[in-house]
């Protein structure tokens, strides 16, 4: 297939070169990081009762939209997931699936004491720690955290994306090296195979 290469070229090399030119030579890196920082759209996934404070964050008094964060409906169009409180065994699968449906670069904020280490429910039999399920960028303590601290977390995430070049390096490398160590999906989604919804 040597002739084929004459006409088509090596697509991988070409794509890599184009990427290098786009991101390296023209200094698009800064634009990418800036764009990701100011367009953090949280996906609509309510895991627990912190959702009331999350809703208040985007209410008129605290107005999270002023940071460019717009809660959005589907995971495919978003780049931020906010774990709003406790994650139960049943919900863990939904969290994981939603995370996998989001296109990268994507970020995660864990909200509330339950998302840190279980909080009030640390010895409950039905609660998992969200950092086992998906990689988390920012933790917000509090039970529930005040809307101000949610806004603070968004600002902190923006700062981190811009200062550490998270988004652009993620796009350049194609993956994020420090963010792949979570338990396998089967740990959380195995029950879905065994549970049988009513046959149609």
């Amino acid at each position: 297939m040597e002739e084929g290469r004459v006409y088509l070229g090596n697509l991988d090399v070409a794509a890599k070169r184009a990427r290098d030119i786009l991101l390296g030579k023209i200094k698009l890196e800064k634009v990418v990081d800036w764009a990701n920082a100011f367009s953090l759209w949280p996906v609509h996934l309510t895991t627990s009762c912190c959702s009331t404070e999350f809703a208040a964050t985007f209410g008129p008094r605290f107005d999270g939209e002023q940071f460019g964060a717009l809660p959005w409906v589907g995971p495919r169009q978003t780049n931020l997931i906010v774990i709003e409180g406790t994650v139960t065994r049943k919900m863990a699968c939904a969290v994981r699936v939603t995370w996998e449906q989001m296109p990268h670069p994507k970020f995660a904020i864990a909200m509330g004491a339950c998302a840190l280490d279980g909080g009030l429910f640390y010895n409950s039999y039905n609660v998992v720690r969200p950092w086992e399920v998906i990689p988390i960028d920012i933790y917000i303590p509090g039970c529930p955290p005040r809307p101000e601290s949610v806004a603070r977390a968004i600002v902190e995430l923006q700062r981190r994306i811009r200062s550490r070049r998270v988004a652009s390096s993620w796009i350049r490398e194609g993956w994020r090296p420090d963010r792949d160590y979570v338990a396998p999906k089967e740990d959380y989604c195995s029950w879905q195979r065994t549970s049988s919804p009513v046959p149609l």
Binding site: A35, F38, W41, R61, E65, R76, Q77, N79, P103, H104
Partner: protein, 344 residues
């Protein structure tokens, strides 16, 4: 003929640069501005700030640029279960065809800047309408290619809505054409000389057309195909990254193009300006007037989000068939009466 001359002729051909400059660049700017206005106006009504901190001096306009850039660089996911070719082709084709009506719409009465030869201009309204009703086909295709229950439901809803609004839009524009007695957009504009705008003479037809535009571009209160409370993002549920941006941009661009058509048919086109000779007076200034009027319509549609919820599908269809269709027919009748009396 040398190659570069041929290229220059093609690029210099009025339909092409009309589509490229007014169509692509103009409507991109207008859509970004319209989305910004939509979010900002809603925020004002809702007693909050809206997008702000990316550019406090511009009132957060750069947030929209950031959204666009983020979509452009985000990794587009193509799920394994989709039908790849229509999945990729639908948003691109939809966007291009949404802009194509601009290739036949005149922005001036100066014949040297018309996109079509004068003979073809006779039917410019009909050609523009014919093309303008095409893009929803690609939305349905996008929904079906996604192979996702929500996308399929969204596509079906879009199909229902198309059938309802298409007829109304065409009949509404026919009301304008009937009043003037011509399908030539230049003549329709010329007939509105001296503030005899058709919005004043035939408000019924204008109302029908306006609501049809709102319905066709799924703006509130008819945001039914993308109604997030039941079908997530409707036909675009599986789209991510730049493909989704194309889809969303397509809706706003379609709104803009239809608004331009409405401006020509009802709002007096480039009047009160009278196009003269030369590029500036003959083309650029008239088209700026037309675009400015179209932007007003687009912003008015955007503002509806702050006031209304959304109708149910069957209620919207009810309204379309039982109220708007008779309204549009009445618009035609009114136009014919006016034409026979000689008001226009």
């Amino acid at each position: 003929m040398a190659v570069h001359e041929a290229l220059a002729a093609i690029i210099g051909w009025p339909p092409i640069w009309q589509v490229l400059i007014i169509g692509f660049i103009g409507s991109l700017v207008v859509s970004i501005f319209a989305v910004w206005f939509e979010r900002k106006a809603a925020a004002r009504v809702q007693r909050r700030l809206g997008p702000y901190w990316a550019s406090p001096r511009l009132g957060g306009l750069l947030h929209l640029i950031a959204d666009l850039a983020r979509y452009a660089f985000q990794y587009p996911i193509i799920p394994r279960r989709v039908d790849v070719v229509p999945f990729l082709a639908a948003p691109i084709a939809g966007l291009i065809i949404a802009l194509l009506p601009l290739a036949v719409i005149p922005f001036t009465s100066n014949p040297s800047y018309w996109p079509l030869p004068p003979a073809a201009m006779e039917y410019s309204l009909l050609i523009a309408l014919a093309i303008a009703t095409l893009p929803p086909i690609f939305i349905i295709a996008a929904g079906w290619a996604s192979n996702n229950p929500f996308a399929v439901i969204g596509g079906v809803r879009e199909a229902f809505i198309i059938v309802a609004y298409e007829l109304i839009a065409i009949l509404g524009f026919l009301g304008a054409a009937a009043a003037v007695g011509s399908f030539n957009l230049v003549e329709i504009v010329a007939a509105q000389e001296g503030f005899k705008w058709l919005i004043l003479l035939n408000p019924i037809a204008f109302l029908a057309v306006f609501i049809a535009i709102v319905m066709s571009t799924s703006a509130f209160p008819f945001e039914i195909p993308e109604s997030e409370a039941e079908v997530v993002a409707g036909p675009f549920t599986e789209y991510s990254g730049i493909l989704y941006a194309l889809n969303m941009g397509g809706a706003y661009m379609r709104r803009f193009v239809l608004a331009i058509l409405t401006v020509l048919a009802f709002l007096g086109g480039w009047q009160p300006l009278t196009p003269g000779e030369g590029l500036l007076w003959g083309y650029i200034l008239p088209s700026i007037v037309v675009v400015a009027k179209a932007v007003v319509i687009v912003l008015a549609i955007s503002f509806l989000r702050a006031v209304y919820g959304r109708y149910r599908l069957d209620q919207a269809l009810d309204m379309a068939w039982k109220i708007l269709l008779p309204l549009a027919l009445a618009g035609i009748a009114l136009g014919l009466i006016e034409a026979s009396i000689g008001v226009v």
